[in-house]
Symmetry: C2
Subunit: 426 residues, 2 copies
């Protein structure tokens, strides 16, 4: 496939190029018109912006089935009355349905890879592979009565490690070591996850200082912030990504720098649950790269990564009284380069030899005119529905409203039915 004379990012702006896709990769990028073999599909780049696929760097994908559940309850009632009883009844099949529903939303919104923490991770992996999307998957391990190696999270992670060995599955699915959070873990568990990650050479994915309460409770419990305590337990000797990080200290930021810990900013979830606004300028002042994620649909209410980037930009500008916060360059890094980096994947730019994980934004929409600053539009005017093509590993997953690997009508119907049935069982 050849994207003919299509806009691509170049620094703060864009340029027009021919982009050739072959064997799942970007084969060539040229400002000249490329010659291609007969039979190559030519995609007209007129009024289109080609971008690296979006990485949703923190998600709980099957929670699409819990979207809006308990909306209007406070956090404690939301969790105990609406979320936990529902989750307790979810079967492997529900997980698959919720995953597919989330994939529809993410793929239509330009996401080609996401980092997830949930249960039934082999089932989730299988659905991702079927859909042709990439994912970093983990089970958020926590304390338990059983020996560490018998805990369900460890068993599921080992099963997923086995599963990915076959048929180049590792090209699509990366296994991470999941630690749920400081407040659900004792020291033995954190040390065991650290050792487990080191043994299998896995990155660690965890929640960190999402709420002020969590942060302060850790100080009380351990005399340390959650991050300092993770360091104390040896966790950060592994490559680590931490979701939220809303209430971290200056020392935490310095420690993240030292240990190459990447924070994943989840502005939508942090706003909707009343967790607060992360201190992004402090991260930037320390030179700390960060990625962006939606969190689960139960707390965010959608998996709209473009909206998430929009929120990230807007909040800092307004909250800091400074329209220059998070300029387009910073947004580009957070959206692309850092997402790929945190996942340990090649990508994030339109360059030869990188995997063809891409999406196309249709600029020919009333709300994207005039289009002389397409990157400003991408982060501030575009809707997820302006994505008109999503491709992973050179394969088109979505184009102009049509899903190529997923049966949208069936998934929507199954999802509604699964929720009905789950509610009847609670």
């Amino acid at each position: 496939m050849l994207f003919r004379q299509i806009r691509i990012p170049e620094g703060r702006g864009t340029t027009v190029a021919d982009v050739l896709i072959q064997n799942g990769s970007i084969a060539a990028v040229s400002s000249e018109r490329l010659d291609v073999p007969a039979g190559t599909r030519i995609y007209d780049g007129q009024d289109k912006l080609l971008l690296p696929g979006l990485v949703n760097a923190h998600c709980h994908i099957p929670m699409t089935l819990l979207r809006s559940r308990g909306h209007g309850l406070n956090l404690q009632r939301w969790l105990t009355e609406a979320i936990f009883p529902f989750e307790a009844k979810m079967t492997a099949n529900d997980m698959r349905i919720g995953t597919k529903l989330g994939l529809l939303e993410m793929i239509a919104g330009g996401v080609t890879s996401f980092s997830d923490m949930y249960m039934y991770i082999v089932d989730i992996a299988d659905e991702c592979l079927n859909a042709g999307i990439r994912a970093n998957l983990c089970y958020g391990i926590g304390s338990g009565d059983e020996p560490f190696e018998n805990r369900r999270g460890v068993q599921e992670t080992l099963a997923l490690l086995d599963w990915v060995q076959k048929d180049n599955r590792a090209d699509y699915i990366t296994v991470d070591a999941g630690l749920h959070a400081e407040y659900t873990s004792d020291e033995e568990t954190v040390r065991a996850v650290a050792a487990f990650a080191a043994e299998h050479n896995l990155s660690v994915h965890t929640h960190l200082s999402e709420t002020r309460f969590e942060h302060e409770q850790s100080l009380e419990r351990h005399g340390m912030t959650p991050l300092a305590w993770f360091e104390h337990c040896g966790l950060l000797h592994n490559k680590t990504q931490v979701a939220h990080a809303v209430h971290i200290s200056a020392d935490d930021i310095a420690l993240m720098q030292t240990r190459n810990v990447v924070p994943v900013h989840c502005p939508g979830s942090n706003l909707k649950l009343g967790s607060g606004i992360a201190d992004i300028p402090a991260w930037q002042a320390a030179g700390l790269p960060f990625a962006v994620g939606t969190d689960g649909a139960a707390s965010n209410n959608n998996l709209n990564q473009l909206e998430e980037l929009h929120l990230a930009s807007m909040i800092q500008k307004g909250y800091r009284f400074d329209p220059l916060q998070l300029d387009v360059e910073a947004l580009m890094s957070a959206a692309f380069e850092n997402g790929y980096r945190v996942q340990g994947r090649a990508g994030g730019q339109i360059l030869p030899d990188l995997p063809a994980d891409l999406f196309v934004l249709d600029l020919d929409r009333p709300h994207l005119i005039p289009a002389d600053d397409p990157l400003a539009l991408l982060f501030h005017s575009a809707q997820a529905s302006d994505v008109c093509l999503t491709m992973a590993a050179g394969k088109i997953l979505y184009e102009n409203g049509e899903f190529k690997t997923l049966d949208a009508e069936r998934i929507k119907a199954e999802s509604a039915q699964a929720v009905k049935s789950l509610l009847a069982r609670i």
Copy 2:
């Protein structure tokens, strides 16, 4: 036209009803299936949510042509280098083109009425009438060397008052008295606008305390907040709506209550320009009803009213550390009831005898499933592109991607051309 068995709002939730439209109005709303004359179009309400048309309560519609202009500059450079030189060159025809471009975006996003402040208001009115959308239009009058009655804003307002007298135009276009802002007005001007509004029985539309700087400068200049100074000048004896109100005092809030001044919250613009976050809980504690608007596309970067309501909800929850801020009931009032109220129009509910100003949200989208809390979805999951029908005065303006009163392809092309030509003239 009959909306057959369609979801409509009812308190905090929704109910299913038949809604009959006749002669531009809602003729009947019934939980039973209504019989209708042969030839009536039946609209299948399955998976659809019918809502009152959205009111964008503060806009500068021709500024769509300035979308993204100067993005990344600070406020002072943005205004002086990017905005003012561009605006100075805009012709009546540019205003018409920019208006039509904005109408495409708003109509496709469920907006059936908006309140606007700009120049060439008869041209804007004419385009609104052609498109079949309703609008409250004003010219933001400010100080000038000429006698008040000779100023362009007054002349344009008088011309618009004349213009609306014909052919039931007043059903569509309401003339407001526009006062630009405290910082662009001397006392003589404010008093003259107050008298002008009283003489012609017009509501006043003005900017208020948008930035901290503006608010503090007024205290220095007048020893009064902008609102207190407006009161001092007699302005608030008229029905008044004030856009932004980010930096108002407790006394200002009390004064708004006394004088029935309605603030229009513009969260997107306030965030993007770094103006700050309005104290909505204080407004609510005082029982002050407020409407919501996008402001112009130059500062917000779009005219997406659903996104604006989403921002309004999310910011307060996150900034106040309280997920219960701006619950669905409050969002419903802000979105509908107060928008109609501030415009002095009947509407905001699905009830017999109200004008048929409506839009339909398609719930059959992956990101809107499960749909058992449709109003939470409306404010937290929906995209403007989920709007599948927009109707004003019983006439369909937009349905499933098709504009019925506007030539979208031509307007998009004309807009791009107009911007190119304007830039060449600067």
